[in-house]
């Protein structure tokens, strides 16, 4: 009896000791890596860099919603599905959820870029000097583009004040690993935000590769052309036309690789067409990784999807969109009529892949580069600029059936050419996240903008109106204890 007790208790004790380990020390995650391991090999470092793109790919950011909001604040589409509430009416409240998701996604991308930048720097011995430089340049590109979208959503446009000294957004270039007050940065002046963006993009152009190992990566990761393309847009928003011209010309001249328009309008849209040389930089999606049912571009834009966003009469009618000729090929190539409950409404055909929601988000397309160049060249020139006309024709002619190419004779003066370029830009880049900001950078007003019903016309939104920009998410203002100032009017 005593022996039995002794043996049993010894065995029990041993089993218990084993159990303690089993339920504590041996419990480790099998679906994630501890942070020490995250930068422990060249492959992991590269994956972490791709993680920063993945942050940009957020449904609330560059893979969908951010592009949509820029068009929705413009007059060319309307919120037929009443999905976006007061955003399109310039009537949001400060606790509106949409700006909060944009703000969070934008800063998440910036923070990820900073985090990966720190990780690369700390583990650079694992990489060749060249590779490290390239990867760091990708981080800079991501940080730059994210600041750029944020500053335009949450601050008045660069041209709002003469020296852009008006309030912008916090500029974040440090990596934070713990909850520190250092992250509670006040909003920098718009000019300072732009200075950071330009510095990041210029450095990126220097260090980025022209191509990657696969076309897929060349179209979806930052390249010299992508950084230059974005930088030319930044200059355009600053009304710095000489720089916009030089930067876009570098791409057109083939200094950053080969880019060209497809033969047909809409040739860079739809399954199978995402990786053509017309794509400078897109956010990719696939069936397993996309913004999903309530966020994806095709879901919102395509009539067989949610079909929330219909094309307005303002865009369709020549009276309010004078360069959109009746036989413009884009009327059939990029527009599609709704059926069933959507009968009578026109939608865009740019994002047709409702089934897998895999449409890529076309952030920088070669047509933009040509039009940016055309506009910048036209504005810089003293008279009617011939090179600007050539670039404009490249875009315009592929959509025209009967209209002949423009010649210098078609333009009485430089301003007429600029107007034609802007008119072409509105059509060619429609529904790709440009319209509202193109109006803003030229100090225009938003007129003939339709409410949800597609019938009621909303009041004209004048340039500089307080609610033309999003509110800083009230929650962030609250959390900052007064450091983040709210936008006027909210």
């Amino acid at each position: 009896m005593k022996r039995i007790i002794f043996v049993t208790s010894t065995l029990t004790f041993l089993a218990m000791t084993g159990c303690q380990k089993k339920v504590t020390d041996e419990v480790v995650p099998n679906d994630r890596l501890s942070s020490e391991l995250a930068f422990s090999s060249p492959q992991k470092i590269e994956n972490a860099v791709l993680g920063a793109y993945n942050a940009l790919q957020s449904a609330n950011y560059l893979s969908g919603r951010a592009l949509i909001y820029v068009d929705l604040m413009g007059e060319d589409i309307f919120d037929k599905g009443a999905f976006f509430g007061d955003l399109a009416r310039f009537n949001m409240l400060s606790n509106n959820g949409l700006p909060a998701t944009v703000w969070t996604a934008g800063y998440a991308a910036i923070a990820t870029a900073n985090r990966v930048e720190a990780g690369i720097t700390a583990n650079s011995s694992l990489l060749s000097a060249q590779k490290a430089k390239e990867l760091l340049a990708e981080c800079k590109f991501i940080r730059g583009i994210s600041h750029f979208y944020l500053v335009n959503f949450f601050a008045q446009p660069y041209v709002f004040t003469a020296d852009a000294s008006h309030i912008g957004i916090p500029v974040i270039t440090e990596n934070f690993t713990a909850n520190t007050p250092d992250a509670n940065k006040p909003r920098a002046a718009v000019k300072d935000v732009y200075a950071q963006i330009i510095s990041d993009l210029q450095a990126a152009i220097t260090d980025l590769p022209v191509t990657y190992g696969t076309t897929y990566e060349t179209r979806t990761r930052a390249t010299k052309a992508a950084a230059a393309g974005l930088l030319s847009r930044v200059y355009l928003y600053q009304n710095d036309y000489p720089n916009a011209r030089t930067t876009s010309l570098n791409i057109i001249n083939g200094n950053y690789g080969t880019y060209a328009l497809q033969a047909e309008p809409n040739g860079a849209f739809g399954p199978g067409k995402y990786q053509t040389s017309e794509t400078v930089w897109s956010i990719p999606n696939n069936v397993n990784d996309n913004p999903n049912t309530n966020n994806a571009l095709p879901q919102h834009y395509f009539p067989n999807g949610r079909g929330d966003l219909a094309i307005s009469a303002t865009f369709l009618n020549a009276s309010t969109n004078p360069y959109f000729t009746a036989d413009d090929k884009r009327r059939t190539a990029m527009l599609i009529e709704g059926t069933g409950a959507n009968e009578g409404y026109i939608f865009t055909n740019k994002y047709p892949d409702v089934g897998t929601r895999s449409d890529w988000a076309p952030v920088i397309r070669y047509a933009e580069i040509l039009l940016t160049y055309a506009e910048a060249a036209a504005r810089v020139a003293s008279g009617v600029d011939a090179d600007a006309i050539i670039a404009l024709n490249l875009v315009r002619d592929r959509a025209q059936v009967t209209a002949p190419s423009y010649t210098a004779a078609d333009f009485a003066d430089k301003q007429m050419l600029i107007t034609a370029i802007l008119g072409e830009r509105r059509i060619e880049l429609a529904f790709e996240g440009h319209r509202f900001w193109d109006i803003m950078r030229t100090k225009g007003n938003v007129a003939n903008k339709y409410d949800n019903d597609g019938i009621t016309i909303l009041p004209v939104q004048n340039f500089g109106a307080e609610k033309s920009i999003m509110p800083i998410p009230q929650l962030e203002v609250d959390k900052s204890r007064g450091v983040l100032l709210q936008n006027n009017g909210y």
């Binding site: 007790i5 218990m16 159990c19 303690q20 089993k22 504590t24 419990v27 099998n30 679906d31 994630r32 890596l33 501890s34 995250a38 972490a48 791709l50 993680g51 793109y53 993945n54 790919q57 599905g81 009537n91 400060s94 703000w103 969070t104 800063y107 998440a108 923070a111 985090r115 934070f176 713990a178 909850n179 520190t180 007050p181 992250a183 509670n184 897929y216 979806t220 990719p284 696939n286 069936v287 397993n288 990784d289 879901q299 067989n304 079909g307 069933g340 409702v354 089934g355 897998t356 949800n452 019903d453 597609g454 019938i455 009621t456 009041p459 929650l475 609250d478 959390k479 204890r481 709210q486």
Partner: protein, 1022 residues
């Protein structure tokens, strides 16, 4: 039962007691202190001849020559047999029965006689939860124990049941109590994988429950250490008793319907209101009856979508149980079937469960046993999601256009827009329910085996191995023709998920009595491992609707994902002594050490001590003269408990694999915090238990709970870039203070008529003492956690009514200045001062004000259960009440907006029309998004009194049951959620849209109404 039978028998006897050679004896029945015992029965053994004592304990009885023995019995006393001798007058003293004073209470890993319990423990008997038409037993605990707040979020099958023992003990960690079934800590909470919640407690058959004990104070709960700060619910299931076996059948059937329905506009009212809204804003009409049959004429359609989506649901329950014991073995087995068909079409829960509890004692020193339940539960959820989803219930039926038909002329579902209304994004509410589904099948095994050996006299070693295995299969489908499914051309999703919990408990328990010393000592070790995972598959764009398995052959695209849901472990060592001296003085001390895998290695161990003192003052000599008091115990305890409801690896900074479309990527998934440590709650409890001679029992407790090092999901600035803008930190302190009182009142106790009332009331005050170093506010929904204020106080813009002169909505700014809003003016001029009409700044988030007096937590709550019996009839009235809570009526807010043409609440008919109209509904004006913005306009008092359950039963008299060879048969009717008295205008004052949270409770946002269920049933014992 025996008393009942006796009463019947005595009735018969009193008529016919003519006996020869009889004489009359008299007597007085008292207790040990000489206090008369009323209503005691005095019966001549082996006869039906007997009487009951009067209020003075006196009786008079005629006895015959052959009568030898009297049997005297009364509730709470040991039956006494007394030889009849030559005396004619007897003084009879009864001893208090063991069952009332020496009742054992399960406290943690040991059983202690109730008299020796020094902590605060509430006990709810199984009868209180059995045979109720509820979806899970936790719902039936509502109002049953003082200080235990049970809140059923909605009438949706499987929706969250929020249990708070003595208030919320945390801010962002869990506040659900630990639930232990027969020593098995079970997993609980929502196990819904897709769109419908699934309450895992619904897997347990309520009719198997013998008792539920709620360990409320630290001394009682501390033996569970780290998991006990929110209290512990110990569930003991039934077991057999030695003796003849019994066979019982319990069954009920019934119907249920929505206990409440909000009223929305009909088609005609809708057209008028929407068009008025438009015309007031100078816009064209958009609402009208359309032509649906194609005859060129507008068809007048008034669809009541609520009527179409709700029905009379069928509820039924059947259970057969056997119980008994032979020799050294006892057994209890049951087989149960429960079908709760909800009032919402398609919503239903079915459960089949079996239980077997066996104990055996093969030798004098060794006992072993097995307790096991297996159940299969099928939940038919709402096909298109719940609550506020566009196609959810009740959102759909409340907001869908009332002027469109359900079906087209050809019988297909109508999916178009209404009349000439151009917008409609609420899909046909009937179609989405009938075409879509979200069904879950779950299987669950909860069981334990134990062996217990007596090593030496009084010392027992027990080893128990426990498992709780839960696996579910969720099958969900959206039809391509309607709602969300149309955007995806059809969607199929399946999720298989598993939860596997095992634990192993070893205890040494020493129980001894030396003279006046009672010792009950315990030492033990316990190891628990929780593991959960899921396997998910989806298919988009279905080819043939009849094949619904996720198969690439039938869907344009498919995908799969595996993942973890739970991965943690706990190692624990504990010990304690419960010491009693002279049955008067009780002291107990417990300590537990826990190591939780989720903390960093250096901060893994937490130590949780507790101590308690109790004084059974009624046992003192000087109390013996106070006849009215039978039992009085004073209690005081203090202890520390912890909280490990914090997720799996909050301390560890981790990166997880992600995708940049085709390219594999890696992202931060948790910022981690290596210094994260245990959250600790120190709790002081002072109370007493008093039982009076007449049976009145009073329990009173005062408690003061302070939680420190709160583990908080600290909401941080987005500029930090942490996932979800959250980092887990030990910050903040929280205080809960309150009193609890429970009364068991034998209101009336006569032979034919008894009336008992159990009343309980609790008052709790919850205050946040500190948050993080900055003293930051922690927002949650429309509430806020701010240091120095009540937990989860509402933080809202203040509504100041409608200006009767112009119908404009008015609000107070932060300084109390009243401003009005006129949407018809240019943007810059819309806000004006009510006082002089001058243009002013807009009301904005800066004008929100924290209102300390208004929180979603009730100040007073409890229940009143009354049991009445008249002869063979019995009746139960169960009331639940709650006072002082506020509810944010988000449902109403959505039904009052002027910016969409979804259907509206009928309250909108009160809208201001002309100068002088006194109303709370502003002028109808299309596009005005300020009047229905989040403000105190929609904050309402949530006071209510609910008739939670009412039962009327009839038991067949024994004379009849004996004839049909049954030992008992009772038939009854009952109604659950009969009526709620409240001024609250929304769905339900207990509605909760945010699940199991501590901040942001009390948001009523489109959760289904509670069902009202009428049932009729029978209990038969063979």
């Amino acid at each position: 039962m025996r008393k009942l039978a006796l009463a019947g028998i005595m009735l018969i006897c009193s008529i016919a007691h003519v006996l020869a050679q009889s004489r009359t004896i008299t007597g007085k029945v008292t207790d040990e202190k000489g206090v008369p015992v009323a209503a005691a029965s005095v019966v001549i053994k082996s006869t039906n001849n007997g009487v009951v004592t009067d209020a003075d304990g006196r009786f008079s009885l005629t006895v015959g020559a052959s009568d030898k023995t009297l049997v005297i019995s009364s509730l709470n006393f040991e039956p006494l047999e007394l030889a009849i001798d030559s005396r004619t007058s007897y003084t009879i003293q009864l001893k208090e029965s063991v069952s009332s004073l020496d009742e054992v209470v399960v406290v943690g890993y040991q059983q202690i006689s109730k008299a020796n319990v020094a902590g605060a423990v509430a006990k709810v008997s199984g009868a209180e939860v059995a045979n109720r038409p509820v979806m899970s037993f936790d719902q039936a605990l509502t109002g049953k124990a003082a200080g235990v707040q049970v809140n059923t979020s909605s009438g949706l099958v499987g929706d969250n049941v929020i249990i708070r023992v003595r208030g919320a003990s945390s801010i962002s960690s869990g506040s659900q109590p630990l639930i232990v079934v027969d020593g098995v800590p079970i997993s609980q909470g929502n196990d819904g994988q897709l769109y419908n919640p699934v309450n895992t407690l619904a897997d347990i058959n309520p009719n198997d429950i013998e008792s539920v004990e709620v360990l409320k104070d630290a001394s009682a709960a501390a033996i569970y250490g780290s998991r006990a700060s929110a209290g512990v619910l110990l569930i003991t299931t039934k077991k057999g008793k030695a003796g003849a076996g019994t066979l019982t059948y319990d069954g009920y059937v019934g119907v249920n319907k929505a206990s409440r329905q909000l009223k929305v506009l009909n088609g005609d009212q809708y057209n008028t209101v929407i068009n008025k809204m438009r015309s007031n804003a100078g816009l064209t009409s958009i609402a009208a009856h359309g032509d649906y049959n194609g005859d060129g004429q507008a068809d007048v359609v008034n669809t009541d979508w609520q009527k179409e989506v709700y029905r009379n649901g069928m509820t039924q329950n059947h259970q057969v149980a056997i119980s008994g014991g032979a020799g050294k073995t006892t057994y209890y087995g049951s087989l149960g079937y429960n079908d709760f068909q909800n009032y919402i079409i398609v919503n239903r829960q079915k459960r089949i469960s079996g239980r077997l509890n066996l104990t055996a004692k093969p030798t004098t020193w060794f006992e072993t046993g097995i307790k096991m339940q297996y159940s299969q539960t099928t939940s038919y959820g709402l096909g298109s999601g719940t609550g506020g989803a566009l196609s959810g219930v009740p959102f759909g039926p409340l907001t869908a256009y009332p002027n469109i038909p359900i079906h087209n002329e050809d019988g297909s579902y109508y999916t178009g827009a209404g009349g000439n209304s151009p917008l409609n994004n609420t899909p046909n509410p009937v179609a989405v329910q009938e075409l879509n589904f979200d069904t879950r099948d779950s299987r669950r095994l909860i069981g334990s085996v134990y062996g217990e050996a007596q090593l030496i006299k009084g010392l027992k070693f027990k080893s128990q191995f426990n498992i709780d295995q839960l696996s579910g299969y969720t099958d969900q489908y959206w039809d391509p023709s309607v709602g969300d499914g149309s955007g995806l051309a059809g969607l199929g999703q399946t999720v298989s998920n598993e939860k596997r919990v095992w634990s192993w408990t070893n205890t040494l328990n020493y129980v001894a009595k030396f003279n006046d010393h009672d010792i009950n000592a315990l030492a033990g070790a316990e190891y628990t491992r929780n593991r959960g995972m899921f396997y998910y598959a989806f298919g988009v764009s279905i080819n043939d609707l009849l094949f619904r398995l996720i198969d690439p052959a039938n869907y344009a695209s498919t995908g799969v994902q595996n993942g973890n849901t739970e991965n943690n472990g706990l190692a624990s060592y504990f010990g304690g002594v419960n010491y009693g001296y002279k049955n008067k003085y009780i002291a107990s001390f417990n300590v537990r050490a826990d190591a939780y895998s989720g903390f960093g290695r250096d901060n893994r161990w937490g130590y949780f001590p507790s101590g308690a003192l109790a004084w059974r003052i009624s046992q003192e000599d000087f109390m013996q003269s106070i006849a009215i008091i039978r039992e009085l115990k004073l209690r005081a305890s203090y202890g520390i408990t912890g909280n490990s409801n914090i997720g799996d690896f909050p301390a560890l900074a981790t990166f997880a694999p992600t995708q940049y479309a085709d390219l594999p990527s890696l992202n931060l998934n948790n910022p981690g915090n290596s210094s994260l440590k245990w959250e600790r709650t120190g709790q002081l409890d002072v109370g007493f238990d008093l039982t009076l001679r007449k049976g009145l029992h009073i329990s009173f407790d005062y408690y003061n709970k302070k939680t420190q090092d709160l583990i908080l999901n600290n909401p941080v600035l987005a500029t930090l870039g942490f996932p979800g803008n959250i980092i887990t930190e030990n910050i903040g302190r929280l205080k809960n203070e309150g009193v609890e009182l429970s009364l068991n009142i034998p209101v009336f106790n006569k032979k034919d008529f008894t009336w008992d009332a159990d009343f309980n009331i609790a008052w709790n005050k919850n205050k946040v003492l500190a948050t993080n170093d900055n003293g930051d506010d922690i927002p949650g929904g429309n509430s806020l956690v701010r240091p120095g204020h009540n937990m989860s106080s509402y933080f809202l813009i203040r509504w100041a009514g409608v200006n009767p002169a112009n119908g404009l909505p008015t609000f107070l700014d932060v300084n109390g200045v009243r401003k009005q809003y006129d949407h018809s003016l240019p943007a810059a001029n819309r806000w004006t001062l009510v006082s002089d009409g001058s243009i002013t700044t807009a009301i904005s988030a800066a004008d929100r004000v924290l209102d300390d007096k208004k929180t979603p937590y009730p100040k007073l709550f409890g229940g009143l259960a009354q049991h009445l019996r008249y002869k063979e009839f019995d009746m139960l009235v169960d009331l639940q009440y709650s006072l002082g809570a506020y509810v944010y009526n988000n449902t109403m807010q959505n039904l009052m907006v002027y910016t969409t043409n979804r259907n509206k609440s009928e309250y909108i008919l009160n809208a201001w029309e002309k100068n002088g109209d006194a109303t709370d509904v502003p002028r109808l004006f299309w596009g005005d998004n300020q009047s229905a913005q989040v403000s105190t306009r929609f904050l309402e008092k949530g006071d209510f009194l609910r008739i939670r359950n009412m039962q009327l039963g009839y038991s067949l008299p024994n004379t009849l049951t004996e004839k049909i060879k049954l030992s008992r048969i009772r038939v009854y009717v009952q109604v659950q959620n009969l009526w709620t008295f409240t001024s609250y205008k929304g769905i339900d004052p207990e509605a909760n849209a945010n699940g199991n949270v501590n901040i942001g409770l009390g948001i009523d946002s489109f959760r289904p109404y509670l069902p009202r269920t009428f049932t009729g049933g029978v209990n038969i014992q063979f």
